[in-house]
């Protein structure tokens, strides 16, 4: 089936965090693996792949470009964070936040990135103040619409209001598919069971998630069932791992620059049991999305206590799934 769209594939090196942490993969290994899957667009977290951020030694910058060239890949997205709580007793001021974000824009530019992920707790006013620099550096900045936020969340409504008012085509959205958690992730469930969650209460929580019951109702119900602290912790995750309607992306598609293809597990049948990419990708094609699906594997923290983490295999599986759903095979 000929691909009738211009959706590209990429990988966030976040997916190889575990191997990078344990010094089993170098930056070059990560870029090589992604490129080898045809996922040429590389997304990078500076504080994961480099040291001394933002004053990253030139040798590491040169290494970055050498690896991209060696493996036929290209810089796609720089993940910006905002250290609002850098100081113990005060938050960053408005000017400090703007300076911090502009620092990241310059760094993204230095790495050759075309887009920049804005961490969701960045105030919209700070983003608006950085639009001129983003346009000058030609970098498209997108707020990461990340669960429990979604396109119709009041925080994102205000972001939309203020950013659309700029009239700029360099400010928009980078939605994280974790806000389309249709089924409670199995790896979450199994870890909570290992930690001592009560099986009957775990089943109750899974049913409540499937029935989209408000977290506050769920918490009250399981307390009456005698929930222990692990049960309560599991129930609380339903507040931060929401289901919402993928079709809501259509209204915002012109300003969706990049997509975090969050996933917790690709099972042996090649599916993500929690996040329905078979529903999401058709919406992206319908909406004429032309950006990247950037793998963001986040299963490590849910399995590391009991299983071998294999980011490479999980990313490989996701791209096999993407090739199928994107009609590349």
């Amino acid at each position: 089936m000929k691909a009738t769209h211009q959706i590209k594939r990429g990988v966030s090196l976040y997916s190889y965090q575990y191997e990078t942490f344990l010094r089993k993969m170098t930056l070059d290994d990560c870029i090589a693996h992604a490129a080898g899957l045809g996922a040429k667009g590389i997304e990078v977290l500076a504080e994961q792949s480099f040291t001394s951020f933002p004053e990253v030694p030139q040798a590491q910058i040169d290494g970055w470009f050498a690896s991209l060239e060696r493996h036929g890949a290209y810089a796609q997205c720089h993940d910006m964070f905002l250290d609002t709580k850098l100081y113990k007793h005060r938050k960053l001021s408005f000017d400090e936040m703007v300076a911090s974000m502009q620092r990241d824009l310059h760094f993204a530019h230095k790495l050759g990135c075309k887009t920049m992920r804005i961490i969701v707790n960045t105030p919209p006013e700070v983003v608006v103040a950085c639009v001129p620099l983003a346009e000058k550096l030609d970098i498209r900045m997108g707020i990461e619409v990340h669960s429990p936020f979604h396109f119709d969340h009041p925080w994102i409504l205000r972001y939309t209001e203020l950013t659309r008012a700029t009239g700029s085509d360099h400010v928009g959205y980078i939605p994280d598919m974790g806000m389309y958690t249709k089924n409670y992730p199995r790896v979450f469930r199994d870890r909570f069971l290992r930690l001592g969650a009560t099986p009957a209460i775990v089943d109750f929580i899974l049913e409540a998630h499937a029935a989209r019951v408000l977290t506050d109702y769920l918490l009250m119900d399981i307390r009456k069932m005698g929930a222990n602290p692990v049960d309560l912790q599991m129930a609380e995750t339903t507040r931060h791992n929401i289901w919402s309607n993928p079709r809501r992306m259509l209204e915002f598609m012109p300003w969706i620059f990049h997509i975090h293809a969050k996933f917790y597990e690709i099972d042996d049948s090649g599916k993500e049991p929690a996040i329905p990419y078979e529903e999401i990708i058709p919406v992206l094609i319908e909406g004429g999305y032309t950006g990247h699906l950037s793998s963001e594997y986040e299963g490590q923290r849910h399995i590391e206590d009991a299983f071998e983490v294999d980011g490479r295999e999980q990313v490989r599986r996701q791209h096999e799934m993407f090739k199928r759903l994107l009609g590349e095979v």
């Binding site: 344990l22 977290l45 040291t51 951020f53 850098l86």
Partner: protein
């Protein structure tokens, strides 16, 4: 996350100053998916064989520099890099006896975009390296 990897394996050893054993140290890695400014490290709580070490007895050292835990919270321009093994130094006259010790390290981080301060704990049986 990275709970089990905070304490760097086989890194527990006594420390000496001028020939006297004045304490012990162990390697520790940041339990997070990316490096952080030192100032967000709100606590590195050490417990050995069930005895909680007083905060004032703990020192954090990386790349040749050393801070008390209170000083750490002011170090906004220094970093604990991703996967980097820092030294946790504990003042403890006479150090630890040889053989197995149960060591526990709990790292509390003030991560800006989280609506809570995460505490990650690693507990291991470690033999005192000679």
């Amino acid at each position: 996350m990275y709970d089990q990897h905070i304490i760097y394996p086989a890194s527990l050893r006594n420390t000496a100053e001028g020939g006297n054993v004045t304490g012990f140290s162990l390697g520790a890695r940041l339990p997070y998916y990316r490096g952080q400014p030192l100032s967000v490290v709100e606590d590195v709580a050490v417990t050995v064989d069930g005895n909680k070490v007083a905060r004032e007895q703990v020192r954090f050292s990386v790349r040749g520099k050393t801070w008390s835990l209170d000083q750490l919270e002011e170090a906004t321009t220094e970093r604990w890099e991703f996967g980097e093994v820092a030294d946790i130094l504990v003042a403890h006259p006479g150090g630890l006896s040889t053989g197995q010790h149960q060591v526990s390290v709990a790292v509390q981080l003030r991560i800006s975009y989280l609506p809570w301060s995460s505490v990650t704990t690693c507990t291991r049986q470690e033999a005192l390296a000679e």
